[in-house]
Amino acid sequence: MHPAGPAAAIIATLWWVLLIGATAIFLLVAGLIAWAWRRPPGEVQERRFVVWLGLAFPLVVLAALLAYGLVIGERLLPRATPDLVEVRAEARQWDWRFGYADAPGRVTENELHIPAGRPVDVAISSADVVHSFWVPRLAGKLDAVPGHVNVLRLEADRPGRYEGLNAEYNGPGYRDHRFTVIAHDAEGWQAFLRGERP
């Protein structure tokens, strides 16, 4: 909830919209129950409750919400862009290995290096069981499924260190199955690719 990249920021905004909407609907329902409780007995219009409140109201709200969610989801997808950086993440019980398209042969363990301010595609795979790649402050999560490669788009606004987690339960070492994302400035990234920095 402290976003440091565009993907996480979009989802954080989505959350606040959802929270406000949900609170409003909850108050509406609570208010209706209070009203129903105090109302003197007598016939009421069935249509008003069932058709308007029960059918029409949720349909309208949900359609709007769904459209919003879909548009956001499309924006978060990995699409071709000019300054794209490609990295690989392979999970196993219980560590992470990262490889880099721009520096073939270079492998880092439990540390993912990326340039800040550029979109990064992470190709996620697994060597054993199901894991999940998650850097909460940068983007949503995506699973590492044996035999499949999933691609997650993330981007860090500023250089810095961001905590990464495995988010799918994977046995006794689950708690400490973490990694760190290190976002470099342009200069630092070039230095990393040249192998001058660990």
Binding site: I10, I11, W15, L18, A22, I25, F26, V29, A30, L32, I33, W37, R39, P40, G42, V44, E46, R48, F49, V50, L53, G54, F57, P58, L59, L62, L65, L66, G69, L70, I72, G73, L76, L77, Q93, D128, V129, V130, S132, P136, A139, G140, K141, L142, D143, V145, G147, H148, N150, E163, L165, A167, E168, Y169, N170, G171, P172, G173, Y174, R175
Partner: protein
């Protein structure tokens, strides 16, 4: 005959045996319903204790109370027990107890099956408890994702307990579901048309059909995973053509309907209790029924929302996201119909109503967070965090436990025949409800701050310590509340004063009897003309006790009830129920040996116990019906009806239909798995396809033709055609297996073995049933000569022909296409 003498005569006929023996031989739904509920509550206590251990562990950072190995077993078993050993059996118990009474009949359609299901539940549940006590409980999370739960991640016996124990318990879910479906459709009071059914019966019907179509994918998944673990058949191992995602699809294909299987009975209880509490009738009965049915249908279209983060293409996700939000609509229809009911009535704040208000407050929040996680991008963040944990506890506790507490306090006078006198329940309420919100409300936030579910402990300084401490304290407050409820129930059952019949002034038939109810429910069966028979005729209970309804004459000295036409509720035939017997318990114990043999890998026990189960089953069915024709018998009020043995559609035919529905879903899931692997799994195609020659095609076609024709001819010639027909199909299946001799080579070979095994099993069932009916005919059993038994056997042999034909075709198809 006066009311008292009728009561004594009927009690002699219907009562279970006295003393300890009675517990094991009873087939009466009142007894078994209570036993189901008691055992489910026992498992709720066990699951609750595990929850307290979890909260104790998480109360403070870096806790050393439990290590990860114990913690992993505990959270896995907490989820497993609450889902499979508490929620579903509690619904079954409630339905088993209430349905015949609400529907105005004397027992469920298959009394011995109720008992069989109950004992399977007890024995299977005991296996799970044993694993917990022995420290070898499953530890891969309650949804058991392979490869973690398979031999790669869990080489020990832990996962086997889950796969085998839960499958054993599922027998009880399937048998209860068949039972409930047939009962609601065919066993009602005369005149109770579908539109006059109590609303709870509608919900029970929808739930039962959902169990029949929702559980088979899980049972299939468990069998496949156990085959992989025990015999190396690589369904989920990607290197040999399997796919871990197949399990996730099969599991959630069950797992999401499961959520509604839990919620719908609760909604049924609400729709029953709330109008009574508001002293009015339910608003929009038709709308509510439609909402329940559409919930049931929609819930099968949204399993993928548990898999939004597995890398499925975004447009695919969009479909399931839409379905997931759409499911909120029928839920909203019900919620607003209930609020409308409140507004037209005069609600009063009895304890059941209090629990319903807690339901509204909690479930609406849970529903709204549910809509949030149905939105794909939000789920990418929230998935597998404490946000989900909080959401699901709001939905399950708010949507199931609270309404069930309302139900408990509402029907307790019915169970005990006493007034709820002590007011401990109100104190408990004020501990449980704030306790629940205190535990889970803030945990939503912890999840958004990055607290993952299933971590055994955490470092300080992440902003979650206070939230977790509050959650743990509230959790313990809630547990104290549940303990008070338990004490309250025990005290009220034991020492409270005798109450009046129908204390809530309800209109449904379960209150038209003295409480606690007599084993026969109704001294005579009522003629129903509306949804609330007691509102129309307040003196109905007295008239029924005087024998003014149907079947009020106990002189035939056997357990009789009426079976009605589905739509109109017009009486059709008399069903004669079996009496008390050890057979169901014996058969479930032998079934248990079968599962135990699988579990302990003592495979010599498996065929022996399987034979034992078959013998029990044959003995079971043999004892039905007699050898003398009775013709039409008087039932009171004019019409004379045949007994079930002499009609074309006896209860067994209807039971078979719904069992085959579940069975067909199982087979469908198997085909789904096959197609899924074929199209999605990475390491396909296999090295080579089995390419059955024309001999196989010929044998299968000729076999199918003969076996389909045989049962439609005269019994003697029919059998002469059927036997070679079944043989031809079996030969085709075995020929295919000789082309894929090693089921461990590739997921394709393994799948073919399962397909053919399934076909051969059903061919064998068809064979046994045909021979059985022939033997019944020769020994002069009415049911096999003029009754429906040949039709039942035909149903099963047609099914066997169908599935083995499809299986052979499915096996041959990839070879032909490439």
């Amino acid at each position: 005959m006066n009311a008292l003498r009728r009561h004594r005569a009927l009690s002699r006929i219907w009562a279970s045996e006295p003393g300890l023996r009675g517990w094991f031989t009873t087939v009466n739904h009142t007894d078994l319903g209570r036993m189901f509920l008691a055992v489910a509550i026992f498992f709720f206590i066990v699951g609750g204790i595990l929850a307290m251990l979890i909260r104790a562990q998480l109360a403070s950072p870096r806790s050393a109370f439990l290590g990860p190995d114990h913690y992993n077993q505990i959270f896995t078993m907490h989820g497993t027990i609450m889902m499979f050993l508490f929620a579903i059996p509690f619904f079954e118990g409630l339905a088993v107890y209430l349905l015949p009474k609400m529907l105005g009949t004397r027992d469920l359609a298959f009394p011995r099956l109720t008992a069989y299901g109950f004992w399977c539940y007890v024995f299977g549940g005991s296996m799970m408890i044993f694993s917990l006590l022995a420290g070898v409980a499953p530890d891969s999370g309650w949804f058991m994702y392979p490869p973690l739960s398979s031999t790669i991640g869990a080489p020990g016996i832990n996962s086997d307990f889950w796969l085998i124990g839960i499958t054993f318990v599922e027998i009880s879910a399937i048998s209860a579901a068949v039972e409930i479906t047939v009962t609601v459709l065919r066993y009602r009071a005369p005149g109770m048309s579908l539109s006059r059914m109590p609303i709870f019966a509608w919900y029970a019907l929808v739930t039962a059909v959902m169990i029949l179509t929702g559980f088979p994918p899980l049972i299939l998944g468990s069998i496949l995973l156990e085959l992989e673990r025990a015999f190396d058949m690589p369904f989920f191992q990607v290197a040999a053509g399997g796919d871990a995602l197949l399990w996730q699809h099969l599991f959630w294909l069950f797992g999401h309907p499961e959520v509604y299987i839990i919620f719908l009975p609760a909604a049924g209880a609400i729709s029953t209790i709330l109008p009574v509490m508001a002293r009015t009738r339910l608003m929009g009965y038709g709308w509510v029924v439609a909402a329940a049915v559409s919930l049931g249908v929609l819930s099968f279209g949204l399993w993928v929302h548990h898999m939004f983060t597995t890398g499925i293409p975004h447009m695919g996700l969009a479909f399931f996201s839409a379905a997931s939000t759409l499911v909120a609509v029928p839920t909203a229809v019900q919620i607003f119909a209930w609020i409308g009911t409140l507004s037209k009535g005069r609600p009063s704040l009895h304890l059941p109503m209090l629990w319903l208000l807690a339901f509204f407050a909690t479930f609406v929040i849970g529903g709204l967070t549910g809509v949030m996680v149905a939105i794909v991008p939000f789920d990418w963040q929230a998935h597998d965090t404490y946000f989900i944990v909080a959401h699901l506890h709001y939905v399950l506790v708010g949507g199931f436990v609270f309404p069930m507490l309302a139900a408990l306090y509402y029907w307790m006078p019915h169970f005990t025949g006493r007034k709820t006198y002590f007011k401990l329940g109100n104190t408990a309420f004020w501990l449980i409800v704030p306790g629940l919100h205190g535990t889970f409300l803030l945990l939503h936030w912890a999840g958004l701050l990055g607290m993952r579910r299933r971590i055994d402990t955490y470092e300080s300084g992440q902003g979650w310590e206070a939230i977790n401490l509050i959650a743990s304290i509230s959790g313990f407050v809630m547990s104290i509340g549940f303990a008070l409820v338990l004490i309250d129930v025990v005290i009220n059952a034991a020492v409270a004063i005798r109450g009046s019949r129908d204390p809530w002034k309800a209109g449904t038939l379960e209150w038209a009897m003295p409480t606690p109810s007599a084993p026969y429910n109704f001294a005579s069966l009522p003629q129903v003309t509306s949804r609330e028979p007691l509102y129309d005729a307040p003196d109905l209970p007295v008239r029924l006790a005087r024998g003014e309804g149907y079947l009020g004459d106990p002189s035939r000295g056997r357990r009789e009830t009426l079976s009605v036409e589905i739509a109109t509720g017009a009486p059709r035939y008399i069903t004669v129920f079996p009496g008390n017997t050890f057979l169901p318990m014996l058969m479930s114990a032998v079934t248990g040996l079968f599962f135990l043999g699988m579990l302990l890998k003592t495979y010599w026990l498996v065929p022996i116990s399987a034979t034992g189960v078959i013998c029990c089953a044959l003995y079971w069915v043999w004892s039905l019906g007699g050898t003398t024709r009775e013709g039409a018998l008087p039932v009171g009020h004019g019409p004379e009806l045949l007994t079930a043995g002499e009609v074309a559609d006896p209860p067994g035919w209807w039971g078979s239909i719904f069992l085959l529905l579940a069975n067909g879903t199982f087979f469908g899931s198997l085909l789904f798995g096959y197609i899924f692997l074929w199209t999605i799994a990475p390491n396909w195609p296999p090295p080579r396809y089995a390419e059955p020659g024309p001999d196989v095609a010929l044998a299968a076609l000729a076999g199918a033709g003969l076996a389909a024709l045989g049962p439609r001819l005269r019994p003697g010639t029919g059998l002469l055609l059927l036997l070679p027909g079944l043989g031809g199909l079996a030969w085709a299946g075995i020929r295919i297996l000789t082309r894929v001799p090693d089921p461990t080579a590739h997921a394709y070979d393994a799948t073919l073995w399962v397909l053919m095994g399934y076909a051969l099993l059903h061919l064998a069932v068809a064979l046994v049933m045909a021979l059985f009916v022939a033997a019944r005919g020769r020994t002069g059993h009415v049911g096999a000569i003029i009754g429906g038994e040949p039709r039942i056997a035909r149903l099963w042999s047609d099914y066997a022909v169908l599935v083995s034909g499809i299986a052979v075709l499915a096996a041959a198809l990839p070879g032909w296409l490439t």
